[in-house]
Structures are given as structure tokens and as C-alpha cells.
Amino acid sequence: MQDGNGGGPPGLAERILAGDRKAEAELVEFFGPRVFAILCARTRDREASRDLLHDALIGILKAVRQGELREAGKLPAFVASVARNIAHTHLRGRARARLSQPIQEDDLAAPGHGAAFEAAERQALVQQALLQLDATDRAILTRILSEGQKLADIARSLGMSQEAVRQRKSRALKKITEIVKGL
């Protein structure tokens, strides 16, 4: 799988290493939601992920500041690996990953307060889009995404062919995407 072609704002790691505080804020803004997505997928717990996000971002910033990132172009891979480690530590039931050398959290760029509202707003838009789906399509998405059911099982219980369920799912996802982007 190719690495993401964006990689975040250009020269981010170098600028952070040079002491550019604005670059730290950019890192948090760009990678914060990605780290949160990884934590959610790994822990299956959005509430815990919100708490873990802070630890992950502090760990990432500290490492980049101290020049622990050997190749600046590998920043996305590094961010993803830190998020994974934090999630694994959480799942193993250990104490949260703590920094070996505590740093003043106030000294780091904190995630913007707007981020939480933005996430809630986005979720509300998704909620709004889901409400516009046909009840059967919504039920199919619920079973796939929330209950982890297989298409074959859903098809059987709804008395449809598997292909019909797959098509309904694809159409529903397309519609959701269009609605969310359009709202």
C-alpha cells in the first residue's frame, strides 16, 4: 500500500525541530483527527480514545521536537505507529503510556477547542444524513457497521439476495457521502 501522498503540511518536522511553535499547532490540527481515528478503530471506544488522544499527541510532539524522527518524510508512519502503541498499551490494561521525561504540557501546542465542536458537528451531519435514508438501507448499515454482521447473514434475515444487499449498501454509502459533503 502506498504511503499517503499528502504527508501533512510541508516541512513540518523540520520546522518543529527548529522551534517553530506554529508548526506544532499545525501538526496537532492535521494529525489529531487521524490519531483519533486510529485510536477509535483500535480500542473500539470513542470515549477512551478522546482521553488517549492527548497522550498520543504529546508523545508525537515530544519525539519530533527531540529529533527522534529520522526521516521527515516518514512523519505519517511515525504518527500512526505512536497511535497504535498508545492503543495497544491501553488495551493491555497497563497504565497509560507516560513520558519517561515529563514535560510541561502547557509548553506544547494544545489541540484547538474548536476540534471537539467540529467533530460533534460532523457527527450531527452524519446523523442528519442517516435520517434521510430509507429504513431498510439504514438497517443494513447498522448491521454492517455497528453489529459487524456479514452481508450473507443480513441478506438471509431480510429475505434478499446478497447482491441486492451489497447494492443497497453501496447506494446508501454513496448517498450519505453526497449528503454530508453537500450539507
Partner: protein, 252 residues
Amino acid sequence: MDCDQIEEAEIAEKYVTGQLDETEQADFETHFAGCQRCFEQVQLFEDMQAALAPGPRRGARWWPIFAVAASLLLAVGAATWFRLRPYSEREGGWAAASGTYSPARSALNPTALAMVEPPRYSQPHWRAAGQTGFDLAMQRYTRGDYAGATPGLLAVVKGDRGNSAAGFFLGICSLMQGLDDEAIAQLKAVIALGESPELEEAHLYLAKALLRKQDVPGAIAELRQAIGLHGPRQLEERSLLESIAKEAPTAK
């Protein structure tokens, strides 16, 4: 694998639903950490997953999100609002003011609509599992032993009429045993208590109990009450209301 291939292979969906192996998962994380297009897909799937997940039994932390949702619903405007409420005024559906219903003209299948999936119960995070009468009854409830849970819940309710949780689950136990009249009385008692963590679901399950009794206007009224609370089961409530409208589109 490039972004088109990732989309074609539905990798984001598989990632969010835990269908990738560890290596695939890590590879995809590295990819979307730097890829806006694939990240947006992941984010959309995670948001849908969160929106479609059953509401937490005791979690008050979701309410800010639904409060924002409510604000946005208002902001979207009248056009959308009218599209979201086809049950009352559209195409000769349910009469909003009177809630009247003509069974003779209805093709309603209340049995299908009133199918009851019992609400899940989880121990509140702030309280360890104990050996109180309520705890013991709920242990039976979680095993699906509704008849076994009933005496314990009944005892709790008799001792403390303000215990909305015990009253609510007692109503559910009655519903699961087909004791619709008892369920209706119990759920109405919970609603009469006013604001409680069980209020929204009490309206929802009361609607289902009323559907079983063919009281469609009553069920609609309860569903509207539930929807008005903008709680975590809003989607299900709207969906049920929508289904009632579809089942009996000409009923007045």
C-alpha cells in the same frame, strides 16, 4: 495499492469494522495518516458507526453531540424539516392534531412493527456490581430470564416507586413475556416520574406495547414524545414512525 484500489476493495469499511489483519491494518493506518481522501473515508465510517451504535444505557456524555445535532436540525430549515416528518400531514397520513386512526382502512401489521428487542443493560461505570435486589434481578435480565427478573424488580419498585430504572426494566420484562397491559401500566408509571435516564426509552417501548394492542394513535403519540427528547435512539424512533406511515398510508 493506490487510493482508487483502496476504495474499490472497501478497505476503509473493513478497517473500521475490524476485518483487516494486523499488517493490513498498520499499512492502511500509515497510508491514511498522510492521505486526505482515505482519511475522510475512515472518518465517515467511524462517524456512521458511532451514530448507528445503540445508545449507552447510562451515558450522559453523548448528550452534547445530540444537542449539537438538534441545533443543526433546526438550522437546516423548514424544507428539510418537512421532509423528515412525512407521517402527519403528508399524503393523508396520520392527523397530527387528532391522531385519529381508522383500522378498517389500515394495512398495518402491528406484530412486525412492535417487534421488541430488549434494551441492553450494563452496570453503570461508577458503581461496582453488587448483590442488591436490583443487581440480582438485572443479572437474570441480562441472561434473558425475564420471568425470573420480575419478582426482584417488582420488590424494588414497591420499596421505591421513584426508582425509574427498576420500573423501566420491570416494564420491559412484562413486554418480553407478552404481558402487554402490565408493560403499558409500568412504562406509563416511569414516564410519570418525569425526567430520568429511562424517559426516552420508556416512550419508545410504550409505543411498541401500544402497537401490540392496536393502539396506533397512542403509539404515534409516544414515538413523537420520544423523538422530541432527541435521545440516542432517535433514528430508531423515526424509522418506526416512518414504518407505521408506510404500513398504513391512507389511515386518518
